[in-house]
Amino acid sequence: MKLKKTFVLGAVMAGLLGSGLATANEEQFIGLPSYRVGPYAAGGSGLFGGWIDYMQLVNERDGGVNGVKLTWEECETEYNNARGVECYERLKKKGSTGNSVFQPVSTGITYSVLDKVAQDKIPMVTIGYGRTDAADGRIFPWVFPMITTYWSQASAIVNYIGTKEGGMDKLKGKKIGLLYHDSAYGKESHAIMDKLAAKHGFEVIKIAVAHPGNEQQSQWLQIRQAKPDYVVLWGWGVMNPTAIKAAAKTGFPREKLIGVWWSGAEEDTIPAGPAAKGFIAAGFNVAGANYPVVADIKKHVYGKSKGNMEDKTRVGSVYYNRGVVHGIITVEAIRKAQEKYGKGKALTGEQVRWGFENLNLDDARLKALGATGFMPPLKITCADHEGPGKVKFQQWDGNQWKVITDWVESDRPLVRGMIEESAAAYAKEKGIKPRDCSKES
């Protein structure tokens, strides 16, 4: 009797569970390899906070992507490659269709999972970091270094300096200092700067700063002796405020100190205090909370106390907005892929990859998203996984970042040539046959 009862109860339970599953909405899982502790926590907490808030916004305001709710799970990487690989493996099978996209926000982790994403058929999106030559989609079908790469950025910075000087021909004979983080990340700038220097006839003075870079006396002495016209700050973490402060001390005008996008956040300027006033930095997203998309997040997400940021004043900061860009790109790729593989369905990583490859965020789409001017228009193709390669320049006015230019283009033919050359060398080393893009649909 008791046994029978148990069976009946079990059957009822199973039935309930089964029907519950059948009526549940489709869900799209996104694994987030975040870092909220360690040396880069300041960037990580802002970026992943913005990204989560945007996905929360899509769930709250629109009820998901065509009815498919977004779900996510964070996995702490501590910006460490081994932990990143563990997170990648842990997250890849989660959710009903597995992880849709992997965005490590760490160049080291990007390299560590580069081969694995192709085997597991999960697209990897690296916005503004990672392997530059992966922009050649024929050789790296699974990797998307979107919006812009380090090489495009270096080229855009030189173009910006050119326009400031009144024309690219005015660069001849100028000296540009390159104060770089002595690591793989910093050295990424060398090849492109050398090429640009040869093309435009300026001189590059490369000055290395050893990690972490909280001591730059000798470097700035060198700068004072060489008297460069501009200094490009290719820094990361504590190196940035130190460099800004050292520039003020040596009397180098901050208006001629130009940071890259990992040097141009509130976390870099506020610690430098008043010395940072006038400092200029590139960015593929801008700071500011008065864009409609951020206003919507405040209304729909923070209005319902579902926001991810503990410090709400950081909403609208550079890193936070960068996270929103990650969110927009992820959600739009899923939306695009649903057009092909069925609206209102949960998609596999392979299907989402198609969405990334056919992503087209034109002005009209950006306007609809409330992100006009927030990020550059973006069009990805089979061959070109990078997109526009444009950046805006912002200047720190002592309290906040002010946008001072429109989107500045890079030297596309030069950068693309370098990308293809480097990717071809990789393909040769690994024995990869490039895809024929005319056959892709």
Binding site: R36, E76, N81, R90, Y111, L114, D182, A184, K187, N308
Partner: protein, 355 residues
């Protein structure tokens, strides 16, 4: 009751000097080998193999390397990660530049390269001791990583200094699946661990321990200090080098010099401190502890506190718990987990009649 050596007599010297003199230990050892060598790759999934077991094995090997140097020979070193880097990049270059280089030979050559570098950086140990030596090995840590970034030849002119490991092929078989890679790592690590165990029981190991306990006395009774210390550096670096090559080839697949930074050296040092200084078994326990506990906490803590507290707090809380547990274990047993295991064995011998 079950764990008792009564009735097991040793009639020859060979029997007396085996690694596992007690029959139960021997059975236990072979059971363990069977479980981890056969059952685990058959039964567990990709996640466990790729993300947990392979790194534990590789870090165990690195910890054995450091344990030989620090635990047995008494030379404090903070350069283990750098020697791993030497091994990883050496294996990459041997396979890249020599046509038809067999993987296992490349692994040995990588170890030998690391050993040569280790001897070089071990030279100061002849004059300086203790913490001062640790500072000297710190130089190795920074110099090697710097050199690998500085000279593009090491990374085959890759613009970012990152290299991608080639496929692992032995006798025409390519190790691709996580199971195959795990078994390969397992075989290499257990072979080298056994080798290390025998080495530290032999005259070489005894020389190391003599030098560790009092180098002047060791010199007086006839050990050649230079030879002994440099041999310890060489063997230790060899182990770290092989571990580094395995890290590149069977685990991560792509390596960058910054991956082998001071943090990793400290991590390996913590492994042997937690596991047990001067114990091969402790190297395994320590590596498992340091690799697994953060992952375990990352799974458990958010599940319990995730909704109530912010994500940032949860991440920091894990580190607090991790640190707290390390302190707890060190207070409970300053000689490491291996010592706990030893105590358990002694208790078990007397059980169930402790008096």
């Amino acid at each position: 009751m079950l764990y008792r050596e009564a009735g097991q007599f040793k009639a020859t010297y060979a029997e007396d000097s085996q690694i596992f003199p007690i029959r139960q230990d021997k059975i236990g050892f072979w059971l363990l080998m069977l479980v981890f060598g056969v059952a685990v790759p058959l039964l567990t999934n990709e996640y466990w193999l790729k993300a947990i077991l392979i790194p534990v094995l590789i870090f165990s090997l690195a910890a054995i390397g450091l344990n030989i140097l620090t635990g047995y020979a008494g030379q404090l070193s903070l350069g283990s990660a750098a020697f791993m880097a030497v091994g990883a990049f050496a294996a990459y270059n041997f396979i890249l530049r020599i046509e038809g280089m067999p993987f296992l030979l490349a692994l040995v050559l990588a170890g030998l390269t690391a050993a040569a570098v280790g001897i070089l950086f071990g030279l100061p140990s002849l004059r300086i001791k203790g913490f001062y030596l640790a500072v000297a090995t710190l130089a190795a840590q920074f110099f090697i990583v710097w050199a690998l970034v500085k000279f593009p030849w090491f990374s085959n002119n890759s613009s970012s200094g990152v290299v991608t490991a080639q496929d692992v092929t032995i006798l025409g078989y390519t190790f691709v699946s996580p199971e195959a890679k795990y078994v390969l790592t397992f075989l290499i690590v257990s072979f080298m661990a056994l080798l290390a165990k025998n080495m530290v029981r032999s005259s070489t190991g005894r020389a190391w321990m003599a030098v560790r306990d009092m180098d002047v006395a060791a010199q007086v009774i006839g050990f050649r200090l230079m030879r002994t210390k440099l041999l310890a550096f060489a063997v230790s670096s060899f182990y770290c080098g092989v571990a580094g090559a395995l890290y590149a080839y069977t685990y991560i697949g792509t390596v960058e010099p910054e991956g082998f930074n001071l943090d990793l050296s400290f991590k390996i040092l913590f492994m042997i401190i937690i596991g047990g200084v001067g114990s091969i078994m402790g190297s395994f326990l320590g590596a498992a502890f340091i690799v697994l506990l953060p992952i375990f906490l990352d799974n458990v803590v958010p599940a319990i506190f995730g909704d109530a507290l912010g994500a940032g707090f949860v991440s920091n809380f894990q580190l607090i718990v991790f640190g707290g547990l390390i302190i707890f274990f060190l207070i409970v047993e300053p000689h490491g987990l291996a010592r706990l295991w030893q105590i358990a064995k002694e208790k078990l011998r007397l059980w169930p009649f402790p008096h």
